[in-house]
């Protein structure tokens, strides 16, 4: 047992450290892939280092599939998936996972809905049985529907009490006008209150077939045994036609004036946003490295320019979000009311211009690469994190064989790559500016700001 574990561990280490070949995804080679006759794709990655198994079902449906007047249906439906199926009562799925020491939950995002659990490895079969039952035989009754609708209502009201969420919602709809991504996955309260049980039944029939899902298993499992279990539990589910996906093309109006938004926030903020390419685009890794260098951490360019080396901003946040459709890179700086938003915007533009014209240094890129490689290694400790990466690589990025492990691509990046993608995607002429203003600012904050600017 000890020797086998050590050899396997060494094998994984060797895979990681072997001379990288650009385009060669070595971790992906360890994944066993199989598609059942009904279209369910199963991906299994053996990871015997701890006696746990991560089981995730990725359905290719999300808030982007909510139609007008039914925003929030995908999310509400996610709740209903826990309310019982042919063989299991309401919330029994969760209680059974709890009873073996596992954890389970789900989330709805723009492009997918994921049901995830992490269990002791010897509970794999039970978990697969639970997932198969609700995939094929979900029980939707009126009483559960009304209860879950009320719970979702509570959830939405809770987020609405957060002024920052309110601003996020406004920002999204401004950045993605008339687009499937324009509303948060949470949905709109007025729509959720109009959704019917029949809407949910139709949604289930349309989107929750085996051919519209990817089942991911990572952990202390035997791939062959796991596939046999999957065939036993899921194989009898009938195939269903693949649902159509909405067009994710984004037609953005030419950039005009900055967008002004108000909210109950303590200080003003200035944000910029850029459109990113789709998640399966070859420029994705270079963009991640660029965004890291620009906005992640104390030594990043924007943080140094706006927060650290000047008094322009008091806090900042940079975040890239890649999606199946056009993604977004957003950078927001919170500042005192005595600092003008235009001044903050100019500072951001100046830093970006420097990258567009002067590129990045070898030293900066080397630091970013080491950080990204370390993050990769840390992620590989966790079956759940690996399962999430595998699901993302397959469902969002389009092919796990190309996208699971980016180590080789990261190692191969050059400063010229980063300058190229900066010029292609972070052109300041395409930059959308957002000015977030508080509904009211405390006089003390004004006074403090004045003091700071004078002294």
């Amino acid at each position: 047992m000890v020797l086998a574990v050590r050899i396997h561990s060494v094998a994984i280490v060797l895979l990681f450290l072997a001379a990288p070949t650009p385009g060669d995804d070595m971790l992906a080679h360890a994944v066993v892939e199989h598609t059942l006759e009904n279209g369910l794709k199963v991906l299994v990655l053996e990871k015997p280092s701890a006696p746990v198994a991560a089981v995730q079902v990725w359905y290719r449906v999300g808030s982007r599939d909510d139609v007008a007047g039914r925003r929030g249906l995908a999310h509400l439906f996610e709740h209903l998936m826990f309310r019982g199926s042919a063989s299991y009562g309401s919330e029994e799925h969760s209680r059974m996972v709890d009873s073996v020491g596992g954890r389970c939950n789900a989330f709805t995002f723009f492009d997918m809905t994921v049901y995830h659990q992490c269990v002791p490895a010897d509970s794999l079969e039970m978990t697969l049985r639970l997932e198969a039952d609700r995939m094929g035989r979900l029980d939707l009754d009126a009483e559960s529907f009304e209860k879950e609708r009320n719970i979702v209502r509570q959830e939405i009201l809770g987020y609405r009490d957060d002024p920052f969420f309110d601003l996020l919602t406004q920002t999204l709809s401004s950045f993605y006008p008339d687009h499937p991504y324009s509303c948060t996955p949470l949905g709109a309260l007025e729509d959720v209150e109009s959704i019917t049980l029949e809407d949910c039944r139709a949604f289930y029939r349309q989107y929750y077939g085996p051919g519209n899902a990817v089942l991911v298993i990572v952990g202390d499992v035997d791939a062959e045994d796991a596939l046999a279990m999957c065939t036993r539990e899921f194989g009898a589910l009938p195939a269903q036609p693949s649902p159509a996906s909405p067009s994710l093309q984004l037609t953005q109006a030419a950039v005009e004036k900055p967008v002004k938004l108000r909210g109950d926030i303590p200080v003003p903020a200035t944000g910029v946003a850029f459109r990113l390419p789709e998640a399966d685009h070859p420029d994705r890794v270079a963009l991640k490295a660029l965004v890291h260098l620009l906005s992640q951490g104390e030594t990043s360019r924007l943080h140094r320019a706006l927060v650290r080396d000047s008094d322009l901003a008091v806090m900042d946040l940079g975040y890239p979000q890649f999606m199946q459709g056009p993604g977004v890179f957003a950078y927001v700086a919170g500042h005192l009311p005595t600092v003008s938003s235009k001044k903050v915007e100019r500072a951001i533009r100046k830093e970006l211009d420097q990258v567009l014209e002067g590129g990045v240094t070898n030293e900066e890129l080397s630091r970013a690469k080491r950080q990204m490689l370390r993050a990769c290694a840390m992620k590989c400790y966790s079956a759940e994190a690996l399962a999430h990466a595998l699901g993302t690589a397959e469902v969002i990025e389009g092919d796990f064989r190309k996208h699971l492990c980016h180590c080789a691509e990261i190692e191969a990046l050059t400063p010229a790559d980063l300058q190229r993608v900066a010029r292609a995607y972070l052109n300041v002429e395409d930059m959308r500016v957002f000015r977030f203003k508080p509904d009211r600012v405390s006089p003390l904050v004004w006074l403090y700001g004045l003091t700071q600017s004078v002294l």
């Binding site: 050590r6 969760s94 020491g101 951490g297 690469k369 950080q371």
Partner: protein
């Protein structure tokens, strides 16, 4: 991670035979191996620094954690936030790597440096690729032993913290927590008073230097390393960088007895909220109490067990009155408490509050069922493997346990201790803490919308939240 369960079993049996008279604790040898906690080499250096190392060759990385037994409860009066400023400033330059050079050095080896001040202790962390662990340990030693606390950085950190406070001040959940702690510990106690912009502003560079000199000492500190490392060379590197670190622990903490505090109820008005946010709290057990396993089981059954818990069933599953309800336990070296939090629409406050209070009464009067106990034990039996899957989880668990008075063997006995809990153990705790003793109630919401309900509930002190 590498396991050697069969080897452990043989070793433990042998030791048990040889040492059972001299070391009665070894009679637990058979149960000790039930925990998936790895074996650590365990050594205390002459300066008091304890070194725990375990090798794990799964990934080419290493996780390092340095625990210093100083927390926010040790801050000087009227300087709440000092430790937060100090720990943020540790990475802002050292005598060997001034200003940004320190962070650049950390990033150059792909490292991630962190500093987390807690109520009782502070943990500094470094995650690195294993090839760089020795450089990483050197940088960690610099940060803890010779920080420069540059004035511009201290000023900037204070500003950033004040901004963060302003952001959290807009969050009903954060406001709820602040007021709950004020009621639990008392407004004037160090544990109950919160970090405010004026307390942050009052901290100067000299204060940081003095506090660092007196509290960031090796005596009582624990350095833990887990990863793709060689134990012997780690030992040599630690000796090289930490052996000359000197200082004796002089933290004096007044002890806390929450059972002696009076009950209290407070409503905090935040204009415009659509939901009422509710917290209840009760005194509990300290970290080294032998009844802690029963306390954890009580907490699981009540509200931390997700859909398997009573509160979730009562408030969400059956009534749909809330999105989230949970209980949690906090155990410190000398005290502990249990908290319950939830939120609901303004119109449902009365109903939800009544359900909460009646569930607590039912639990304290009638106790738990055998079925609930069985399911809770089953959860804990299976959950250990999940909770100790990664080096970060393992070291976090070890440091939490050891810093609050447990030995490594105590931690390995955890699974057995939980399985040994009886219904009467749990019922006794429920009766002792949840029925008749102090209770603290806090509600945060819109006063105009909730005023009639508050009048009906009665007894709530009303304060307005000022941003």
């Amino acid at each position: 991670m590498p396991t050697s369960s069969s080897l452990l079993r043989k070793t433990s049996v042998l030791l048990t035979v040889l040492l059972v008279v001299a070391l009665p604790v070894m009679a637990w040898g058979a149960e000790v191996e039930a925990s998936p906690l790895p074996q650590f080499s365990d050594e205390t250096l002459p300066n008091g620094l304890r070194l725990l190392v375990t090798e794990d060759h799964e990934q080419p990385a290493a996780v390092v954690r340095l625990l210093i037994p100083v927390g926010s409860r040790d801050e000087p009066p009227r300087q709440a936030g000092l430790l937060r400023i100090l720990t943020s400033a540790l990475s802002e330059g050292t005598t060997a790597h001034p200003d940004l050079a320190f962070l650049l050095a950390v990033e150059s080896i792909g490292g991630a440096f962190s500093a987390s001040p807690g109520m009782e202790f502070t943990v500094l962390g470094l995650d690195v690729l294993s090839a760089d662990v020795h450089d990483g340990l050197s940088l960690l030693a610099e940060a803890v032993r010779s920080p420069a606390f540059p004035k511009p950085a201290v000023k900037r950190i204070r500003r950033e913290i004040r901004a963060t406070l302003a952001v959290s001040d807009a969050s009903p959940a954060a406001v709820l927590g602040n007021h709950a702690r004020a009621l639990i510990y008392g407004e004037d106690s160090r544990l109950g008073c919160r970090t405010l912009p004026r307390t942050v502003k009052s901290v100067g560079r000299d204060d940081l230097i003095a506090f660092h000199a007196s509290h960031f000492v090796p005596d009582g500190a624990i350095l833990a390393v887990m990863g793709d490392v060689d134990g012997d060379t780690i030992h040599e590197t630690v000796l090289a960088h930490f052996a000359s670190w000197q200082g004796a622990r002089n933290t004096k903490r007044p002890s806390v007895d929450l059972a002696q505090r009076a009950s209290a109820k407070r409503f905090v008005g935040m204009r415009g909220l659509r939901k009422a946010h509710i917290a209840l709290a009760y005194p509990g057990l300290p970290a080294d109490d032998p009844e802690l396993p029963a306390w954890r089981i009580l907490d699981y059954i009540l509200g931390s067990g997700g859909f398997s818990s009573r509160l979730m069933a009562a408030l969400r599953s059956d009534e749909g009155q809330t999105y989230e309800v949970r209980s949690f336990v906090r155990y410190r070296s000398d005290h502990g408490y249990m908290g319950i939090v939830t939120s609901t629409e303004n119109t449902q406050l009365a109903k939800v509050h009544e359900i909460l209070v009646s569930e607590m009464a039912r639990l304290s009067e009638r106790g738990i069922t055998e079925d609930e106990l069985t399911r809770a034990k089953s959860y804990f039996a299976g959950s250990f493997a999940l909770s100790l899957e990664t080096p970060d989880m393992v070291l976090g668990h070890v440091l939490d346990g050891v810093a609050t008075g447990n030995t490594l063997d105590d931690l390995r006995r955890e699974p057995a201790a939980l399985q040994a809990v009886t219904k009467s153990d749990v019922d006794a705790l429920a009766q002792r803490f949840l029925g008749g003793g102090p209770r603290w109630d806090v509600i945060v919401g819109d006063e105009k919308a909730l005023s009639p309900t508050l009048d009906a509930l009665g007894g709530f002190e009303r304060v307005r939240h000022k941003k």
